[in-house]
């Protein structure tokens, strides 16, 4: 019994995992992470560059002219995809060959954050609950401000994100479309209720996916200038320096990091032995403990490093640095997602066009694609390994750069170098740990 995504997704075609990372590739990547970290301490820039927020490179020409069309179309697409997914989950085939599973666990949960890291915060437009809230506020003649509430916390989002990863990785029957349908309905209801009580702006921090995808989107080279509404370009990853860190944001990033880490861990044979012959709720509870344990380890490493850092710079409050540096873990969390789910996205994602031809198992062939099969040779195992290692190393470099920039801006010059070391060591642990998990993914 393996509680992993490839069991969740499409019983008929799934059941694949990646080959172990070649050891030479692991050794090079881990060595690079260590070397890069030390180079960072010694020779990176000595003035903070990102403290004022990322400098825009360019403004897209006449961006506001056509942007409303794109956004409007995005809202319609978001609503349509949500309605299709929910309907298929409720009345489609009751087994693993249900389109809703691929839509939620592959396209939405893996595809959307990766797309957001490139194209910006697209969930703001796709979010069906935000569209509902927008329409309701417009109908009532209220001004529809979508900016996040300044005082809002991320704790609702932490609960939502933990709940989603628990369903995916711990719950014993995540590939039941009916269970998924019930939970989607409950979550959608909670979001609409939240928006009704706290206003539409609450969704930006209260919806787990708005919060997490929004944080990931801060890494994107494209963003929308909040004052002018124009689409602008910036250097990739630099936007993370401007993340608004709220109560709960630290936990949100650590839950995201830890859940992907647990998905890798739960593939390992030693974890399968821990779960053993347990099934049903017994397995669910063991996996729940495992998920909490991995998130806890990630949190302990981070908190330990930042407390040591605070001690080095003589802060009175040892926890005062937890929030200012959490943005540097966001690229690492995204790298975990790409490294761990790249092949899933490429292979299982191919099931969307197949299953969408007959979403309700009525013998339809709406798009003539029902006979397509998943092409497992579309990317080679070597390419998969290189993407995995490239993602982990790139995420590490981005994290080190972000932390370095914050450290030299915040700490006295004579302490800045030494103060960076605990977090650098923590990042080496995350990176090498992530690579170790890929040795037997």
């Amino acid at each position: 019994m393996i509680a992993t995504l490839h069991v969740v997704v499409a019983h008929g075609l799934g059941g694949r995992s990646d080959l172990p990372l070649p050891t030479w590739l692991f050794t090079y990547a881990a060595g690079m992470a260590v070397v890069i970290s030390f180079v960072a301490v010694g020779t990176f820039w000595r003035q903070p560059h990102l403290a004022q927020g990322p400098a825009p490179i360019t403004t897209m020409p006449r961006a506001t002219g056509w942007l409303w069309i794109v956004r409007g179309a995005g809202r319609l697409i978001g609503l349509a995809l949500f309605a299709l997914t929910l309907a298929v989950a409720w009345v489609g085939p009751p087994n693993g060959n249900n389109l809703a599973l691929v839509m939620v666990f592959v396209a939405f949960w893996v595809g959307l954050p990766l797309l957001s890291a490139v194209a910006g915060d697209i969930w703001q437009v796709l979010s069906p609950w935000d569209t509902v809230a927008l329409v309701v506020t417009r109908l009532r003649g209220r001004p529809s401000d979508a900016s996040p509430l300044p005082q809002a916390s991320h704790w609702w989002a932490v609960a939502g994100l933990f709940g989603f990863t628990w369903l995916e990785l711990c719950y014993h029957n995540p590939s039941s479309p009916r269970v998924l349908a019930s939970l989607i309905s409950v979550y959608a209801g909670a979001m609409v209720l939240g928006a009704a009580v706290f206003g539409r702006r609450w969704l930006r921090t209260g919806d787990a996916f708005a919060a997490w995808f929004g944080i990931v989107a801060s890494l994107a080279p494209l963003y929308r200038d909040p004052t002018t509404g124009r689409v602008r370009a910036r250097l990739p990853f630099t936007g993370a320096a401007a993340i608004a860190v709220r109560p709960g944001t630290v936990a949100l990033v650590l839950v995201a990091l830890g859940s992907t880490g647990f998905d890798s861990t739960s593939n390992a044979s030693w974890w399968e032995e821990v779960v053993g012959a347990r099934t049903g709720w017994d397995a669910t509870w063991v996996n729940t403990l495992g998920l909490m344990w991995v998130i806890g380890v990630m949190a302990l490493i981070y908190a330990g490093a930042m407390r040591l850092n605070a001690r080095i710079v003589g802060e009175d409050d040892l926890d005062s640095l937890l929030r200012p540096f959490i943005h540097s873990l966001v690229p690492i969390a995204l790298a975990y997602v790409l490294a761990h789910y790249f092949s899933l996205l490429v292979f299982e994602g191919q099931q969307v066009p197949i299953l969408v031809s007959d979403p309700f198992a009525r013998g339809w062939d709406l798009f003539g694609t029902i006979d397509w099969t998943v092409n497992y040779l579309v990317v080679s195992t070597r390419t998969i390994s290189l993407v995995q290692v490239g993602a982990i190393v790139a995420g590490h470099v981005a994290g080190v750069v972000l932390a370095h920039d914050r450290a030299i801006g915040r700490f006295p010059r004579h302490l800045a170098t030494r103060a960076q070391l605990p977090l650098l060591v923590a990042m080496v642990f995350y990176t090498v740990g992530g690579l170790v998990l890929l040795l037997r993914a």
């Binding site: 019994m1 008929g12 080959l19 070649p22 099969t373 497992y376 030494r418 090498v432």
Partner: protein, 158 residues
């Protein structure tokens, strides 16, 4: 660059490298098994020949489908009273080699090789033989649907 005392920097570098080596050491254990599993076709074929002779030897009375002299990997899966015994699954197979599953169960069941999409009904007491060319690299689950158990995770090296 504010100078860190050289001794302290050295100590830190040492700590980092030790931690790196420890982790690399953990992995080199894996690499040893990995290089053992990805060895040449000769070792694979010798081990499979013995496995296939085993299966022909034990099943000779009941089966006429398992012919001797088969070149490739034979994986035998025997189910008795819900207990699964899988032999020959541990080692990785080379891409494009031939894999033969010999499945015997005391109940009717369905065996499913993921990715290759081989799905064969098993009749209680009768060994079923499934041959396929392992041309898709990756780690693939082989599953008994009736028992709802993964009986083998077949590694096909790329």
């Amino acid at each position: 660059m504010t100078a860190l005392p050289p001794g302290r920097l050295g100590a830190l570098a040492g700590t980092l490298f030790v931690s790196f080596l420890v982790l690399a050491g953990c992995s080199s254990g894996d690499s040893a098994t990995e290089s053992a599993t990805s060895t040449t076709a000769t070792t694979v074929s010798t081990s499979t020949t013995s496995a296939s002779t085993d299966s022909t030897g034990t099943d000779a009375s009941t089966s006429t489908t398992v012919e001797p002299g088969f070149e490739g990997r034979t994986i035998t899966i025997d189910v008795t009273a819900g207990e699964v015994k899988t032999v020959g699954c541990e080692q990785a197979v080379a891409k494009d080699s031939t894999v033969r599953l010999v499945v015997t169960s005391d109940t009717n069941d369905d065996i499913h090789v993921h990715g290759y999409e081989k799905e064969v009904a098993i009749t209680a007491g009768t060994p079923s033989v499934i041959d396929f060319i392992a041309n898709l690299p990756g780690v693939w689950e082989i599953e008994l649907h009736g028992l709802d158990t993964t009986v083998c995770e077949l590694t096909v090296n790329g």
